[in-house]
Structures are given as C-alpha cells and as structure tokens.
C-alpha cells in the first residue's frame, strides 16, 4: 500500500473508480433527501388528487437513485476484481496487521492535534480506510439489502426483488422494523458524509498530499519529499 512514497505523482484512482465515487455522491445525496421526505412528507397538497403526483415523484427519484447506487455498487465490486491494487482497498481491512492499528492511532492523534504532521499515503489513510469499509462497503450493502426488501413489498410476491431480498423482512421482524433500520442507516450515512466532506477539504489543505484533485484526475501528488 505504502511503497516508495515521494513527491512524484502516482496514478491511484482509475476512471471507473472516480466515476463511481461521483455517481455515488450524487445518488446518496438524492437518496438521503428523498428518503427523508418519504418518511416525513412535505406539507399536504391542495386540490384534486389527480392533479398531483408529488409523493409519487419523490419515491420515483428514490427508487431510480437506488438502482443507480445498486448498479454502481455491483460495478465497483467488478472493478475491485479487475482494477488496480487501490480499487481493492474498500473490500479488505488489514485488521490482522499491527502496522494498520499503529498508523490508525497516529492518524487519530493527528486529527486530535497531538501529532505535528500526518503520514503520507498513496491510498486511503487507515482511519479513512476503516470508515470507508464500514460505512460505504458494509453500510451500503446493508442499505441495499433493506432497501430492496422494502421495494420488493410494492413490486409484489414472486418478483425477483422479493425472491432475492424478501426473506430479510421476517428475519428482521416485520416491515416497520426494516423501515426503521433503513432510516437509521440514512442518518449514519448522512453523518459520515458530513465528516467525509469536511475532512477531505481539510486534509487537502493541511496534509502533505492531494485529496480532492486525486478524486478528479486520479493522480495523487505529494507536497514534500520527506518519507
């Protein structure tokens, strides 16, 4: 992960990974907003029911964004198999390596202003790595499972959604339970996104490497030559 690091630029995120990131950003934003509005709808519309389809549109956006998120998720798994080494980072966590935990602690201390400067990483730093795997990979997967199980309810018995995901509802309890966990998941992801955006901007400025531009161009650049 962290071989010869120098000020020379490294090509980290290949095009499919970058596209996936930004598509994900968009779909998660839409999913969170529309999901919240499905749980707590906008003020009531007046007039004839046949003149409006507000809730229908909100739900449509939610489902469409969910399909994009799901296809992206599958595509990302495929790219983890065929892409470069960094494309696999989101799918494995080196918890058995002492070095991972030591660097994780260092990163935490850096954020707590206890370290003078951060280490340099070609891929994600250990703290980011941990959060990405837990929230995006595992969390995203849980949201897909619960989301499709709920979607299966309206598509109906015997649909492929029901066959693939319908079993989840009796496993969790009942429909309302699945809704609640899906809703909690939304808040977890919202909080993560806030942290992610703040830290990405901050690190882009104060750390020793590029962050935001890397997710645009794919190239990681470093601000100094020290190890």
């Amino acid at each position: 992960m962290q071989r010869e690091i120098n000020s020379g630029a490294v090509y980290v995120y290949e095009a499919p990974v970058r596209i996936w990131h930004w598509v994900n950003a968009l779909s998660i934003t839409l999913l969170a907003i529309t999901g919240y509005l499905v749980a707590s709808p906008l003020p009531s519309m007046s007039g004839e029911a046949s003149d409006h389809f507000l809730m229908g549109y909100i739900r449509f956006v939610h489902f469409a964004a969910a399909y994009i998120f799901a296809v992206g998720f599958l595509g990302r798994i495929y790219w983890a198999l065929v892409g470069n080494e960094h494309a696999r980072q989101l799918f494995k966590l080196p918890v058995h390596r002492l070095k991972f935990w030591r660097e994780l602690l260092h990163e935490v201390r850096w954020y707590a202003f206890l370290e003078k400067e951060p280490k340099k990483y070609v891929g994600h730093n250990p703290l980011a790595h941990l959060f990405m795997v837990v929230i995006i990979t595992v969390g995203g997967f849980c949201m897909l499972l619960t989301g499709f199980a709920l979607y299966a309810e309206q598509v109906g018995q015997g649909s492929w959604q029901d066959t693939l995901f319908g079993w989840l509802i009796p496993l969790v309890g009942q429909s309302q339970d699945v809704r609640l966990w899906h809703h909690w998941g939304m808040w977890v992801i919202v909080v993560f996104v806030m942290l992610h955006v703040y830290v990405a901007i901050r690190e882009d400025i104060v750390s020793r490497q590029s962050i935001i531009s890397t997710m645009v161009s794919g190239w990681r650049t470093f601000k100094d030559d020290r190890p």
Binding site: Y111, P170, D177
Partner: protein
C-alpha cells in the same frame, strides 16, 4: 362416517340451486375462477365434514366474534354444514366436564383426522398456570390436541405472533403456537389479525375442505390469497398518498376530505392483510375508511413498534428508546459543530506553524 356437506345442507332444506349458487359465491370469495365452482360443489358432495377442535388460550375471543359475523359464506353455514365444529367454548352448548369430555372423544375418534384451530396462545411461565382450563394448564391441552391432529390453524395474531399478552414485558411469557416448545410437528397455517377478517377465516376453512390441503402460504405461513399485499397497496386513499395529500391533524380539512392518513401514523404501508379489499362487516368499511389509520394488527409484534400515531416510530434496542429522526438530527448537528470547532483549531495551528516557519 360423518355426513357430507351436501347431505347436511339438503337435510337443512337447502335446494340444489341454492347449493350451487353458494359454491360459485365461495369460489369467487376465494379468488378462484368460475371453473372452480364445480370443484367446490364436487368436494362438498363427496367429502365428509371435517371435525374441528377450536381451542382458546390467552385471548379475548375477538377471533370467534369476528368469525360469527362472516357473510360469505355465512358463519352458520360453516359451523353447521361445512365443518363439524365439535368444540369451541365460545359457542358450544356443553360446559364443564361435558365440554372437556368432547375433546377426549374427538381425539380418540378422529385420531390424525381433525383440524385443530387455536385462538389465543399458551403462557409458558409458571408451568402455564396463567391459563387454566378444566383445572389443567392450557398448554397441556394444546400439546395433547396437537399430537393427534391433522393440521393446525393459528387464528388471529395471538396464535400467530403472540399479540397483546406477548407485548413488552410479556408478563406471562405468552408464546405463539409455532414457537411452543415440544409441540408436535404439524402443518400450521397462520391467519393473523386482531381479529382476522371474518370472510378470510371462513374462506380459509372452505379452501382447506374443498382441496383437502392448505392454500398457498407465504414465507411466514400466511395464506397468500389474503396476505400477499399490504393494506397500502389496495387502499382507496392511495391516490392521495401518491399526490402528497395528507391528513395533518384529526380535525383539519384534509381529514374531512379523506386524504391519506400516512402522517397520522397509519401502518397500512407495513401491514399485510386484506382489509382494503375484503373490508369488514360484509364489505361495509374498514378502519381507514372510517378515518383512523391502520394499527397494523396482523403484523408480528405490532404492539411494540412504537405509537400507533407516529410515522417514524421509536426504536427499542438494548433497552433504549430512541427516535431515529431526533437522534439523527442531534448527531448531525453535533458532528457539524465539532467539524466547525475542529476547523477553527486547525486554522489556529496552521497560523502558528506558519509563524514558526517565518521566524
């Protein structure tokens, strides 16, 4: 051998014409095509009435009360012509030890051939002492009857899920039928609801008699023909939901106009039942039509899923009661504030570093 349904009906003075009409009505009530009317007629003409033991555990008798209000078919037709309801302590004539003797007799006479219908459920705490029938715990009676029956019908949410007596903290450890330890492994059909719709109950019985098997069941053992869709899917107020027209208060204009009750905590979107299609009291109405949200009475553990009047209900996990939206907003606010504070400290540190470098 007991009489066939047809013989019993003829004996009661029902004409052949009425009998055939009844068969087609039943076929349509079951959602079967017209081709099935002769099948039902044939079954009724040739098959003997099935003996049914209807036991009551911890319950409120609302299932029986619902059952006797069935219009298609009429409860009396079911009780008097279709099944041989040998024991049901709500509507049987005998009482006391005479009643108890009937159970013994049925178990002996129709060993492996009777249907056990259970309304309510057994409490398991204190060796089942919270429900005593004829001086013995109900759970013992249930186990014995289940041992020799052909199949079990779990009437209502009590027998299917546990219902109100199993709501937190479940003081008597009331346990739904399929979870009773040591119960003989028999096919179980769940007909949940508190109570289930009368027509659903009678239709399930009719189906079992006609085809001599259970109707198709879903993952949780409920008949698909009545429990495959949510109240929400067939609700007559659904267009208001899609349009975004909601009742916000019980006495607002939207409530008078009959808008969607989603915001008032209606559990229609999470409840599998046939209320919005079959309706109640002979198709007259159902809760949402009367202006109150669905409370989700046919769902597992519906008593413990937060208030009947909340949309985003509270979560009870690890002994904590919390609302996702309240916690989420506080968490997002805290994280936002923390990020701002962190940013401020970062800026100060950066400035200090700069100062040190400049010197």
């Amino acid at each position: 051998m007991t009489e066939t349904f047809y013989e019993v009906m003829r004996r009661q003075g029902i004409t052949r014409r009425s009998f055939l009409k009844y068969c087609s009505l039943t076929a349509s009530a079951l959602g079967l095509g017209p081709a099935f009317a002769p099948t039902i007629a044939e079954a009724m003409e040739t098959k003997p009435r099935i003996p049914v033991l209807w036991l009551h555990g911890l319950e409120c008798t609302c299932c029986s009360e619902s059952f006797i209000r069935s219009a298609h078919p009429l409860a009396k037709d079911v009780v008097l012509s279709m099944i041989s309801l040998d024991y049901d302590d709500t509507i049987m004539a005998a009482a006391g030890h005479e009643a108890e003797a009937i159970i013994e007799e049925i178990i002996e006479k129709y060993d492996g051939n009777y249907i056990l219908a259970v309304e309510g459920n057994p409490p398991l705490d204190e060796d089942g002492m919270y429900c005593i029938i004829g001086g013995k715990p109900f759970v013992e009676q249930l186990k014995k009857a289940a041992e020799h029956c052909k199949a079990i019908i779990s009437w209502g949410s009590c027998a299917s899920w546990g219902c109100v007596q199993a709501a937190r903290p479940n003081p008597t450890r009331a346990t739904p039928i399929h979870k009773v330890p040591g119960l003989a492994k028999k096919p179980i059909i769940k007909v949940p609801g508190c109570p289930p719709i009368a027509e659903v109950m009678t239709a399930v019985i009719t189906y079992i008699l006609t085809f001599d098997r259970f109707p198709q069941l879903d993952r949780q053992g409920r008949p698909l023909m009545f429990y495959s869709q949510r109240i929400h899917d067939k609700c007559y107020r659904r267009p208001h939901f899609d349009a975004g027209q909601f009742v916000e208060h019980w006495d607002d204009e939207a409530a008078r106009k009959g808008y969607c009750l989603y915001k008032m905590g209606c559990k229609g979107p999470t409840t599998y039942n046939a209320c919005s299609t079959v309706r109640w009291n002979g198709g007259l109405s159902f809760p949402i039509q009367a202006g109150h949200g669905c409370i989700g009475c046919s769902e597992d553990g519906f008593w413990d899923k937060g208030s009947f009047y909340d949309r985003v209900t509270d979560t009870h996990q690890f002994g904590i009661e919390a609302n996702a939206d309240e916690v989420g907003l506080v968490a997002a606010g805290t994280v936002g504030a923390a990020a701002a504070a962190h940013l401020a400290v970062t800026a100060i540190k950066q400035a200090q570093n700069k100062g040190e470098q400049d010197q």
